[in-house]
């Protein structure tokens, strides 16, 4: 008996090409799971106009022009544009906004015959680590519905954990793919900055944002990543293929910044699981080496200066005039104030004000200028460590999934959950979160994840080491 909830992309592809299943049967079975699990509030919308897409995908399979992703039902984070569909970024500001063009990644996937079955819930404009900042209600963690799925791409992680999609896309600015992947027990990849085009992604912090896949296995994540990466002239930071210094090196040496990993606020059970997993990696032939990266400690502070600065300028475009939420005031200035005051949620308003502060005259040098300089130091230190080790490993998150409402009143506590993930975005390197086991809490099995970090453009190393951990955890 086929368990649709555990079906991987590779398995589904084999069923489709061997004609044991039609695209329609596959998509209907997955959409049924999506409908049965609607109490999670992971999908903001399940599309009901996919009949033609299904037919086209089936034709590709029948005439032998299919790829690994043809006919595969995937879910899309609500900040990635699909022409004609609403892309609200889970904000009241864009509640009615319909995309006038396809994101680069959407076009890539649709061209391969992917069936996008719905758009997933997220923290508003990708700002948050729990999906509780959505204007359309929080998403629940399928492993324990009293807990958050992580965020900001919480919906995209939850649909996979619930078996309500075979893969999904998210965006990662400070951990928004890897952290929810860890909380929901799935694989999440943040690719190298510039590998996947940001064209058609609702911008949050442009020097940090990157689109990436969620999947049930590392192999599936690799399949989606390969499909969406590529050079795009529409994104000026997209790196031309010839300039991507990939490496075929087999990773053997794993560096661990133990001083940083054993820092304050890290759950002892997370640490135990992490160290046990490293022991098993050693048995599998990997060398584990302690590395010193003192500048990592500044990662979070740098991030919470650069990110809000970029947020405040990127979100200046929402003026209530050209598109988006409009609230009528007495004059044009009032229109701006009211449209933005009501259209943006609390966390978004907070970050806009914070960004305005760190960029304002008199504070710019002390905050933004300084953060840019420390970013360079982090980049340099990391590059130096990568001359000694192939991969860096940390836990993905300092704790397992926390309770809904636990951190909503304390933004700084929420930010601290990003401690292990933000240095990756600051330096632009790729990283993957791979499930590493569970902890038992109040009768629930809560997933944990390990984050592997590689040098720029070395995603291949991440897939290799990720598959090794996956094998170890399963056996």
């Amino acid at each position: 008996m086929l368990n649709i909830k555990e079906l991987t992309i590779t398995e589904a592809h084999n069923l489709l090409v061997s004609k044991k299943m039609s695209v329609r049967e596959l998509v209907e079975a997955v959409v049924n799971v999506a409908r049965e699990t609607q109490d999670l509030n992971a999908y903001l919308e399940i599309f009901d106009d996919i009949k033609d897409d299904i037919e086209r995908a089936q034709n590709k399979i029948d005439d032998g022009t299919s790829t690994l992703l043809t006919g595969i039902p995937l879910a899309m984070k609500d900040n990635i544009l699909i022409k004609g569909k609403i892309a609200s970024a889970s904000s009241k500001m864009l509640e009615q906004y319909r995309a006038s063009y396809d994101a680069f990644v959407s076009k890539k996937l649709l061209d391969e015959g992917v069936i996008v079955i719905g758009r997933t819930n997220m923290d508003e404009f990708a700002m948050g680590g729990s999906t509780e900042n959505s204007a359309f209600g929080a998403t629940k963690n399928p492993h324990d519905k009293t807990r958050v799925p992580g965020g900001s791409s919480g919906g995209s992680a939850a649909v996979l954990a619930a078996g309500a999609a075979l893969g999904s896309l998210g965006s990662d600015t400070g951990g928004s793919i890897r952290q929810p992947a860890a909380f929901c027990g799935v694989v999440g990849l943040k690719p190298t900055y510039g590998t996947v085009s940001r064209s058609g992604l609702v911008a949050m912090a442009s020097s940090l944002d990157q689109i990436g896949p969620f999947a049930k296995t590392v192999e599936d994540a690799e399949i989606i990543f390969t499909a969406i990466s590529g050079h795009d002239p529409m994104d000026s930071t997209s790196v031309p293929t010839a300039q991507r210094k990939e490496s075929d090196k087999k990773p053997k040496v794993i560096g661990v910044p133990f001083n940083f990993v054993r820092g304050e606020g890290v759950d002892p059970r997370v640490l135990k699981n992490f160290e046990e997993s490293l022991e098993k990696m050693k048995s599998a032939g990997y060398e584990v080496r302690d590395v010193s990266l003192p500048s990592l400690a500044y990662g979070l502070a740098v991030y919470y200066i650069l990110m809000p600065a970029e947020v405040s300028s990127n979100l200046a475009r929402f003026d209530g005039v050209r598109y988006g939420y409009h609230k009528d005031g007495a004059n044009l200035l009032e229109d701006y104030l009211q449209s933005r005051g009501e259209g943006f949620g609390r966390e978004v308003r907070r970050r806009i004000l914070l960004g305005t502060y760190v960029l304002s005259s008199g504070y710019y040098d002390a905050y933004y200028g300084r953060a840019c300089a420390v970013r360079e130091i982090l980049r340099r230190d990391l590059a130096h460590i990568f001359t000694e080790v192939d991969i860096i490993a940390t836990p993905t998150t300092p704790t397992p999934a926390f309770k809904l409402g636990e951190k909503t009143s304390d933004p700084l506590q929420m930010y601290l959950a990003d401690i292990f993930t933000v240095p990756v975005n600051i330096t632009g390197v790729p990283a993957i979160s791979v499930p590493s086991g569970f902890v038992d809490e109040e009768g629930s099995q809560l997933p944990l994840g390990i984050q592997f970090i590689a040098p720029h453009f070395c995603e291949k190393m991440l897939f290799e080491v990720g598959k090794a951990l996956e094998y170890i955890v399963k056996n």
Binding site: S100, A301, V302, R322, E342, R350, V374, E376
Partner: protein
């Protein structure tokens, strides 16, 4: 790090975001707490650092082969909260 209510009001007006009176106090506290946390960047040793800027190359496309005029207008105008035929309507500025 001390933030006053009037600072919050000033930032909100610069950012064109209306904030309610009860939110101002929360924002004041949040901003104080977050700014005091991020101020640790001031302690980092920034030695004679020359930012390593990679090779620059032109990422702008040539300004040529324009698309046919008006083909995107309806799609874009249809998103505007207020329009008059092919114009977006805004309140008087001057």
């Amino acid at each position: 790090m001390s933030i006053e209510i009037k600072d919050v009001e000033h930032l909100a007006s610069l950012a064109r975001v209306a904030v309610s009176d009860n939110e101002k106090n929360d924002l004041k506290n949040d901003l104080e707490e977050i700014l005091s946390f991020v101020s640790q960047v001031k302690e980092a040793t920034v030695d004679s650092l020359t930012p390593e800027i990679g090779t620059h190359y032109n990422v702008m496309r040539a300004d040529e082969n324009p698309h046919e005029a008006g083909i995107f207008s309806e799609d874009l105008l249809s998103s505007a909260p207020s329009r008059n035929e092919n114009h977006i309507v805004v309140k008087k500025i001057l």
